[in-house]
């Protein structure tokens, strides 16, 4: 069934978009991430302009992270104090990111910057996660104990605060910085950033796994709602019809993904996610390295007639 998208200005097959939403939703539910890094490239692939894709995916991620956050809230797996400190940084970072986005677009190299940051970020995070998952898997095979968690220099910073639900005593400085970085990256790349935030919170901030996913979902939810608003007000690029189809597919897929995720062991899950992120990064890298089929591209600067 064909449906005409009012903002993207092109007809799409409803079932195709629904299936894409469900597939990405499944992955996001399984790993507890937003899935923006998969959704945005997929939409661009079916012919939606990058700008509309980035703007519409933001509201899709907001929907799936809200349903996730509600579930974690009921299980008391969200640390409200930690979430609010993260948000202070997140909102600042998003605003900074949107500003940078505009500057880059004026320079005419936005597409290249997006592709490069996808390559650098996804290959780095993906290979780190993959190798970490592999090591953890080997450790459990050998039956060895996981290495003891040690405090690092981050825990020596001033302005300490007690986060009761996470049972950690931590300086607010690294938390705000992490929020800024995630907000900034998210605004430029059109991703929620959950797949970077969760490892940072676990390995750098030493947030216990019981509250990490729920809290990161709160940050994703608020930054993505903020991004939706910014895109709607400044660029008028949010396609609500497209977003709605993606949301319906996404939240449904996420439920099944979450159930599937519970059946897989943590290390294997990290290994799989690392592999997935790495392959998206490599795909972007290949696109930059091999000679494109067509050296020329056209971009419309808006109909004025």
């Amino acid at each position: 069934m064909q449906l005409y998208l009012p903002i993207a200005d092109l007809p799409v097959n409803v079932f195709l978009v629904l299936a894409m939403g469900a597939a990405v939703g499944f992955v996001s539910g399984m790993f507890g991430i937003g899935g923006g890094f998969l959704m945005t490239p997929l939409l661009i692939f079916i012919g939606i302009t990058p700008a509309v894709a980035v703007a519409s995916v933001a509201s899709h991620i907001a929907a799936s992270s809200f349903s996730g956050a509600l579930a974690y809230w009921r299980r008391r797996a969200i640390d409200p104090a930690l979430a609010s400190v993260l948000l202070c940084g997140g909102v600042t970072g998003t605003a900074l990111g949107v500003w940078t986005f505009t500057q880059l677009r004026a320079l005419g190299q936005l597409d290249l910057m997006i592709a490069l940051s996808y390559v650098v970020l996804l290959t780095t995070v993906g290979s780190l996660m993959f190798s970490e998952g592999l090591r953890a898997l080997m450790r459990t095979r050998r039956g060895a104990m996981p290495p003891r968690r040690t405090h690092n220099w981050i825990h020596g910073l001033p302005l300490k605060m007690r986060f009761k639900r996470s049972k950690i005593y931590l300086s607010v400085i690294p938390v705000v910085i992490v929020g800024i970085v995630i907000g900034f990256i998210g605004a430029i790349m059109g991703i929620g950033g959950g797949f970077i935030l969760v490892p940072i919170m676990i390995y750098v901030l030493r947030v216990p796994t019981s509250t990490v996913i729920g809290t990161s979902m709160v940050l994703t939810l608020v930054t993505m709602l903020f991004a939706t608003m910014l895109h709607a007000v400044t660029n008028h690029l949010v396609d609500a019809v497209l977003a709605l189809i993606l949301m319906v597919g996404g939240v449904t897929g996420a439920q099944f993904g979450a159930r599937a995720g519970q059946k897989i062991r943590g290390e294997q899950l990290r290994l799989l996610l690392g592999l997935l992120i790495l392959s998206v990064g490599v795909r972007f890298a290949i696109e930059l390295i091999i000679q494109p089929a067509d050296l020329f591209t056209i971009r419309e600067l808006g109909v004025t007639g």
């Binding site: 092109l10 349903s67 709602l225 109909v303």
Partner: protein, 256 residues
């Protein structure tokens, strides 16, 4: 005074003589509506060549060139080059106010209808249509085999937005003709100008114009206008919709 009057009369006479034939045309639909299930359409243009008393008796065979031009827009064509091992956009050309949709139809190959000179002047064929570029601060069209111009036309043609078909116009009788105007699914919204140029024995003898528009209606129109005019409300509604969907899902799929 008398001389001016004479001149005016002369112009009128000559004009009348030049317009010995009259073209009467119409399109099957002057208002194409884009609805939720829109997936492309084909319009039909039909018309006839009306002769009058001043038409030379030996003029029987006519040739027609139909030009359809969509709303104009500025576009940028970029070329990728390998720099530091990766392919990045290096050079670009700006095309100013070029048609977003362009179709040229004729009843036989353009080069057999008229001379290259007239074809260039009357913009017959994709190679002769004026596509203004900004070349280092100057505004001009370039030679037809320019790399950026060729790539631009090729890419637009691939998307079905630029086309030329020298056999699309059919003469049903020596003076009655018709042609189809295919509109692809991703056709730009706006006003389309249709120019019909008449040739006889290689000479350009007249033209007429008509137009049609492509509009979004109903829900599509409503969403598009709201997004443009009330960005804040639109954003709030979209955000609320996201929250609603997420909340509904968490209720529907609640496990306990």
């Amino acid at each position: 005074m008398r001389r001016a009057l004479l001149a005016a009369l002369l112009v009128l006479l000559l004009g009348g003589a030049a317009r010995a034939e009259r073209l009467i045309v119409s399109v099957s639909n002057h208002r194409v509506t884009v609805t939720p299930n829109y997936s492309g359409e084909e319009l039909v243009l039909f018309g006839s060549v009306e002769k009058d008393a001043t038409t030379p008796a030996d003029r029987t065979a006519y040739d027609l060139v139909v030009t359809v031009m969509g709303p104009r827009a500025d576009m940028v064509t970029r070329r990728k080059e390998r720099t530091f091992g990766i392919w990045i956009n290096t050079d670009y050309r700006q095309f100013l106010q070029v048609p977003s949709y362009l179709a040229l139809f004729a009843n036989r190959p353009f080069d057999r209808i008229t001379s290259p000179e007239i074809a260039r002047r009357q913009q017959i064929g994709l190679n002769n249509v004026l596509l203004t570029q900004r070349v280092s601060g100057d505004f001009a069209d370039v030679v037809p085999n320019d790399a950026f111009r060729t790539a631009f036309i090729r890419l637009r043609t691939q998307r079905g937005l630029y086309r030329e078909d020298p056999s699309a116009v059919t003469f049903l009788t020596p003076t009655l003709f018709r042609t189809g105007i295919p509109l692809p699914a991703e056709v730009p919204i706006g006003t389309y100008e249709v120019e019909i140029k008449l040739f006889a024995n290689g000479a350009f003898i007249g033209k007429t114009e008509t137009a049609f528009e492509i509009v979004k209606v109903g829900f599509e129109q409503f969403v598009a206008t709201t997004a443009r005019q009330n960005g804040l409300i639109y954003g709030l509604v979209t955000a609320a919709m996201a929250l609603m969907t997420g909340w509904m899902a968490s209720i529907v799929f609640r496990k306990d």
